[in-house]
Every structure is written in C-alpha cells, then in structure tokens.
Amino acid sequence: MKLTSIITFMALFLSLFMPLFIPQVLAGVAHAAPSKIEDRSEYSTSLNTIAVVIMNWYGSLITDNQAEDRQSSFNTKNTGDQWSDYRSQYPKNISQILITSNDLLKLENDNGYQFNVKSKFIHSVKNELQTQLLDETFVFKNTFLLNENQPLIKTISRNKSETIQSADTENADTKTVDTKKAKTHQYNRSHYKVREFTYAWLAYIDGVKILKPTMNGSAWLDKATYSLNMGSDHSEDSIPSILVKRRQLLAKGGHLLRSLDIKNQDNESNTFVIDLILEWKGTSPKGKPVIARIHQEIKVHIKTDQSWEVISITEEHLLPVTAPWMGLVC
C-alpha cells in the first residue's frame, strides 16, 4: 500500500469517526469534570476534600471488631460526631471494603454536594466470609469551599443493602467478582489511609490548608524536599517554595487523581513510595488554558507512633494525552 494512500485512509478514518465519538464523550466528561475553569477548580477541590472524608469514613470501619478502635480512627472533626448510630449499622469484623462506584454531584441552589457510593463489604460472621453490598448517598454542606471548615456531612441515606451468603472467595459467583480482586489487592485500612492522605495532599497543593492535620502535616511540610521537573525547568526546594514556583504556570485550577500505586516498600527503614499520576487543568497567570499530566512520587516514613512523615516528593510533567496519534512512531 502506498504511503499516501495510508495517510489518506487515516485522515478519512479520523474525519469520519471522530465526530461520532466526541459528542458521547463530551456528555460523559462534562458530567464528571466541568470544563469551565472556575467550575473545574471547585469540582477538584470538592472531590478531593470530600474524598478525604469518605476514605476516613470507610477506612475506619475496617477493624477487628473493637468498637473503640473503629471509633478512635474515625475523624469526627471531618464529619461531625452525630453518626455513631448510623455507623453501628455496618457489619462487624470487616476485613475489606471495595468501593465499586462513586459519583459526585453538585446540588442545585448552592446547597452542597452529594456523593453516591456503591460498596462491597467483606466481613466474617462465625468465621464464615460474607459480602454485603451497599448503596449510600452522603450529602455535604457547602461551607468547606470557603476554606474555613472541613467538609461536614449533612445527611446520609442508605439506598440499598443486600447480603450475599457464602461469599467465600473459593466459591465466588458473578456478584462477588470483585472479591476475587481482593485476593490480589488488600482493600484494608492501609488502602484507605493512603488514599485519605493522597486526597488531602491534592487538596493541599490546590490551596486547601484546612486538611493539614489529616496529613500529619505540621512539621514535614516545611522539612521535606520537593523536586520539580517541568520541561527544561528543574528545581529542588521546600514544598512551599516549589508550590509558588509551580503556580507561575499552574495558577488557577485543580488536580485530579488518575492512578495510585504503592511501591518500594521497605520494612527495615519503614518507608514506602506513593506513586501518583495526576491530571491538572486550569489557567496560567495570564489566563491561558493549561493542562498537565503529572507523575509524583511521595516517599513516606512511618514513625514509631505509626504517624507518617513525608521525606521527599519528586514531580515530573509528562506528555498529556490529547490525541490518539501522539504515541505513534514510524
């Protein structure tokens, strides 16, 4: 086949089929992440700060059925302390919780945010594994956007609860397909602690300072080294200094988490690395649109009291995925 014919075919293919793809996509994406910069910024902040609460909420339910343990790891500052009755309705002896889907919606008339969560609880009853499927809706007050208060839960409703007997992973049926996944990844308290930390970090670098306590962040935020690689721009400095430097391009906008991985766990030195891929969308100080695909590695040390101290952050800006042909080589 001649090269020109091939290119013509490619161009034709794109021109014919792209219009079919784009409307579907825009509909989906617009719902998930608004395109207007102001909305996008608010969406990122809302999602990240609410996710901190949600991660704490579920993570603290995973216990050895010691009521005080479950309650002590639950951050009531984030949620208000009136939810103990509701929380007591969850199963006991939860070993893992899988969040199977979630959706953040802004309520009309500036009336707060609604976060829908579908989840799967794996717990044991008399040494037998059981699965409970839950569909819950959390409604948050809107005041946290003023950066004065942490997100507070206004109402919680349980839309659906279904218990599946014999959720033994050996006999998993189609409804427990995620249970199989749980064999290779532990959706345990650590899983949620890492995510609670990560969402608080994302909110922090977007300018939300109220979540510092969630990150044990009073000391290490001034001590950790932050290394930044943005194209030909390389700098290493304290976190506050690098954040100022970043804002010379990433001025107004928000970070969204695209992937999270834990690597380089070293039990001897009690360290591990949180490996993140983030997407940033917003505007430059001159008001020009900017998008970034960011790789961050956060090295964490677990102290003897089990609190976390961040030692270093490395950040590299990758090629944002903006077109299907960008990875092609000839």
């Binding site: 091939i6 161009a11 194209g231 997407e279 944002p320 299907p324 960008m326 080589v329």
Partner: protein, 211 residues
C-alpha cells in the same frame, strides 16, 4: 506502516474519546512540561538556543534524512501547510526539523534536505547528548532499528548526501510522528500530525500568531 494504522485505530478505540475531549474543551491549552529551552546547531553550523525563536510561532518535527517514508511525507505536508500561510504569517512562524541522527545528518546535509522542501525551513542538529535532551523535553521517542548499519544506496532518499564512498552506511530509526505547535513564548500548545487537515492546522498557527 500497517502497525501505525493498527495502533491508531487501537488508540482511538481505547483512550481516544475521553482524552481527546480534554484538548477540545479548551482552545490550544499550554501543555505543561512539554518542551523548553535547549541548545542545538542550525543549518549553517551556528550554535543556537530555542529561545532565539521566541516571538515566533514554531512548528517542530523530529526525523532524519535517511528516513524513506514518513519524513519526506511530513516535510511535503509541512511545505503545503507553509504555503497556506500568508507572507506575513510565514514571517511570524518558523518550521523546524530536528534530526535524530546527528551522526549522519551534518548541518550542511540537513540544510539541503529541509530546503529541498522549502528554503525557509530550518534544520537543527547537534551532539547526540543535545538531541537526546531535545527529544526528552518534547517526550519524543526514537530508537535505532538497525542492528548493523544499512548501505545508504539501498535507501530511497530525497536528497542523497554527496559522497564518493560507495559503501556508505547509515542507521535506520523509528521515531515519533508528532508535529509540535509552539507559541511565541515557547510553550507547546498542540500536538498534530500529517492527518490534521491543513486548513485546521493553519488556523491554529494563525491563532497563536495573533495572540
């Protein structure tokens, strides 16, 4: 080449739709961390920095003169794209071709190659380290395909290098096919390719010229 089409179709099916919308929702966003300042050697053998082109809208491509298919095709496409621009717009823009084979592509030979398509086109070369640095800035990929070098007389070439060596050999490379559209401040604003309708591409160049 069939692999390219396969990859293209796969890319569209898998992640094209959701990601394409990212760029489409905004007009020519700055792609943070893509590109930046670098040093290189121009077609006349002079040391240049990319900052020298500040104030101009740049279209930048990677390739090499022994490339038998996509590079001549790309430069042919850029030739037509350039002719879509008015004289004033041409003066406000620079079309730059960076070689990924600096061992073979001397500044003089590179000049002959790019100017075969248009006398205004700029060829940039440099040391292997410089080229590696430039490609890393633009997250561009390239790799040497030939285990041993290939006799250049076996390669279909636009502008063969003048040499009396009948056994001359060169490497063959695979490399990125992306065309980088860069604004007057040096920020990469769009990633295009030869499938982009030329009128659309020219429109984007005009948008950046008029910013």
């Amino acid at each position: 080449m069939l692999k390219i089409i396969k990859n293209l179709v796969m890319a569209l099916m898998i992640f094209g739709p959701s990601q394409i919308s990212l760029a489409n929702q905004m007009s020519l966003p700055i792609l943070s961390g893509v590109g930046g300042d670098f040093t290189a050697v121009d077609s006349d053998g002079n040391n240049v920095t990319f900052a020298d082109y500040k104030g101009k809208t740049v279209v930048l491509a990677f390739g090499y003169t022994n490339c038998a298919d996509i590079c001549p095709f790309t430069l042919g496409y850029l030739k037509k794209l350039y002719s879509n621009l008015s004289k004033e717009e041409q003066e406000q823009s620079r079309f730059i071709f960076v070689t990924i084979d600096p061992d073979y592509d001397t500044p003089e030979h590179l000049k002959a190659f790019v100017q075969f398509f248009n006398k205004d086109f700029i060829g940039l070369s440099g040391s292997n380290e410089q080229i590696k640095h430039i490609t890393s800035l633009y997250k561009a990929e390239y790799s040497d395909l030939s285990e041993g070098k290939v006799a250049t007389k076996e390669i279909r070439r636009t502008t063969p290098q003048k040499t009396s060596d009948t056994n001359e050999k060169a490497s063959l490379f695979s490399h990125t096919v992306v065309l980088y559209l860069i604004d007057k401040e040096g920020y990469t604003r769009s990633l295009e390719y030869t499938g982009t309708p030329r009128d659309d591409f020219a429109h984007k160049i005009r948008m950046l010229i008029n910013e």
